[in-house]
């Protein structure tokens, strides 16, 4: 029964500092897969003490079964069962992915559509169970969702702060304490008591951003959401993100565009057809990615 709620990713008691294992960061890493280990060995020599690993992905594989024709009704299911036509096509969305991400790293995940970026993020966020391999995450994860997905449209902004906050695992006392801060940052003013269905998309995005970032998460997941709100709010949110990064938050940033990755990230990886094809410093990887795209055209 305990497995119903099994999710190491969100265990609040885990702090990154509790799991410093400097010995592990040694050359053993590079033998596994020299290209996919995020911190370059060069850097290691300069700084003796590396920050603790907060995300460790080992031999991760995710297999999907794609039905050639989607069967989603009982009637159809039985008809096909009788006719013995329940064909599945299997494919691996991710295969043998190894990653080690250290505290404070800002990792850009580049890749074309269908490369497995979102699947990887889902595994790290703990919502998708991998078919094989393990994902170990230390610290709490907060995803920044597009345009306030997860709000209830009939609820007012204020009610949604509590509701959405509870979804992210905040406590009631915490939300009550930070309520004003959230409202202030979102710049919604008196609109906070209006149902969210009457909000503009920018307002929703602002509220979502404000709620998600009030907590100072240890790991922040950004899935192509940085283009929210108007220019003024974008500036403000970028500033807030930068402030969080200075505090040592670990960021996973998914994008098609290498420009965005360059501005936000210090490390990057490229995913292609479910495996990591390159990883390392952001500048190098972005250049490689640009090359890859132009090759394909």
């Amino acid at each position: 029964m305990e497995d119903i709620s099994k999710n190491p990713a969100l265990d609040p008691k885990d702090t990154p500092d509790a799991l410093v294992t400097p010995a592990e960061g040694g050359p053993a890493d590079s033998t596994v897969n020299a290209e996919t280990v995020a911190p370059a060995p060069k850097k290691k020599k300069k700084k003796k003490k590396l920050p603790p690993k907060v995300i460790v992905v080992e031999n991760l594989g995710v297999r999907f079964r794609i039905q050639e024709q989607k069967v989603d009704s009982l009637k159809e299911y039985f008809v096909r069962l009788v006719k013995r036509r329940l064909n599945y096509k299997e494919f691996w969305a991710l295969k043998d992915v190894n990653l080690k991400i250290r505290k404070g790293d800002r990792v850009g995940i580049l890749g074309l559509n269908g490369a497995g970026k979102s699947t990887l993020l889902k595994c790290i966020a703990g919502v998708l169970k991998p078919t094989e391999g393990t994902v170990t995450v230390k610290g709490n994860i907060v995803p920044l969702l597009e345009l306030g997905a997860g709000f209830d449209k009939d609820y007012t902004g204020a009610e949604n702060i509590y509701f959405y906050g509870s979804m992210l695992g905040y406590s009631k006392a915490f939300i009550r304490e930070r309520f004003n801060e959230i409202v202030e940052f979102s710049e919604l003013g008196s609109f906070i008591n209006v149902p969210v269905k009457n909000y503009s998309s920018g307002m929703k995005a602002r509220l979502g951003f404000s709620i998600a970032t009030v907590v100072d998460p240890e790991i922040l997941i950004l899935d192509e959401v940085l283009s929210v709100g108007d220019a003024k709010f974008r500036k403000k949110s970028s500033k807030k993100l930068e402030k969080m990064m200075k505090k040592g938050v670990t960021v996973l940033f998914v994008s098609h565009s290498s420009d965005q990755v360059l501005t936000f990230c210090n490390k990057a990886i490229i995913l292609d057809h479910g495996s990591v094809v390159a990883s390392g410093k952001a500048e190098k990887i972005c250049a490689q990615y640009e090359e890859m795209i132009s090759d394909k055209n």
Partner: protein, 266 residues
């Protein structure tokens, strides 16, 4: 297990937020607000009494109260399972983004409907006073069917919400299922004429009917073990107890087995 309890503690607030949201939004846009919960069974009772009291058997029990008991319990079961069935699919986008224990969705739907059900018992009390039904200490035994129905609805809700993820037509099938259950619950008729026929077995297999019989017994000042004339003493109690526990455990098991696949289908 420790992890399960920790998780439960952490997401307790979310659970009550979900319950609160269901209740709040249900009545937000209606003029009558929460009184609607009371008005609906009352009106049903009046209409059914007017239509059926002459037509279908006259027993010793007060007919309006007899109808209301069945109607309230069935109404709860039907509403709660309908909402629970859709609950996982409704929160599909969030399931793919943020980790929360997924059983929160069907269980909170069952609990929020239970709270509305308990509030609606006010109508029953009012009608009992109005009709001068004698209340005895057996009324406390009504807590037994009330707890069992909660357990049973949770189990059924978990099973339905699981399979609705994979089969969308379950929604329509369940509407039909609920209708069949309603007709075999003896809500607005008495079983006297059926009990000696060969079809009496229907009333032995419907666990909701067993719960309604127990509830009525308690309301009319009898032990919940009292027979309805079809089965022997205590049958309904044991049948409902075993059924509720089994279906609850089965629901947990089914949900737990399938929950990792939800994200691939919602």
């Amino acid at each position: 297990m420790k992890e399960f309890i920790n998780n439960l503690k952490k997401f307790r607030f979310l659970f009550w937020e979900l319950v609160k949201k269901d209740i709040k939004l249900k009545y937000r846009s209606s003029v009558l607000g929460v009184f609607w919960t009371l008005l609906e069974p009352l009106l049903t009772m009046i209409v059914l009494t007017l239509v059926f009291s002459e037509l279908l058997g006259k027993g010793d029990d007060n007919f309006p109260v007899y109808i209301l008991c069945g109607r309230l319990l069935y109404g709860y079961f039907s509403n709660a399972t309908k909402v629970a069935l859709k609950s996982v699919r409704k929160h599909g986008t969030m399931i793919g983004k943020v980790y929360v224990p997924k059983y929160m969705y069907p269980l909170s739907a069952v609990v929020s409907n239970y709270i509305m059900f308990v509030i609606s018992l006010v109508v029953l009390v009012g009608v009992m006073i109005f009709e001068k039904v004698k209340v005895t200490f057996y009324i406390f035994e009504a807590l037994v069917p009330m707890l069992l129905i909660l357990l049973m609805t949770m189990g059924v809700g978990l099973i339905l919400s699981t399979y609705n993820v994979f089969f969308r037509d379950l929604e329509y099938l369940w509407t039909v299922g609920l209708m069949l259950i309603m007709y075999t619950c003896a809500i607005f008729y008495k079983v006297d004429k059926i009990k000696s026929s060969t079809n009496a077995w229907i009333f032995k297999v419907n666990p909701l009917y067993s719960l309604i019989v127990m509830f009525r017994n308690a309301v009319f000042g009898r032990s919940i073990m009292t027979s309805d004339g079809i089965v022997e003493y205590g049958y309904h109690f044991w049948y409902a107890l075993i059924f509720s526990v089994v279906v609850f455990l089965l629901g947990m098991f089914v949900f737990w087995r399938k929950q990792d696949k939800f994200i691939l289908y919602v």
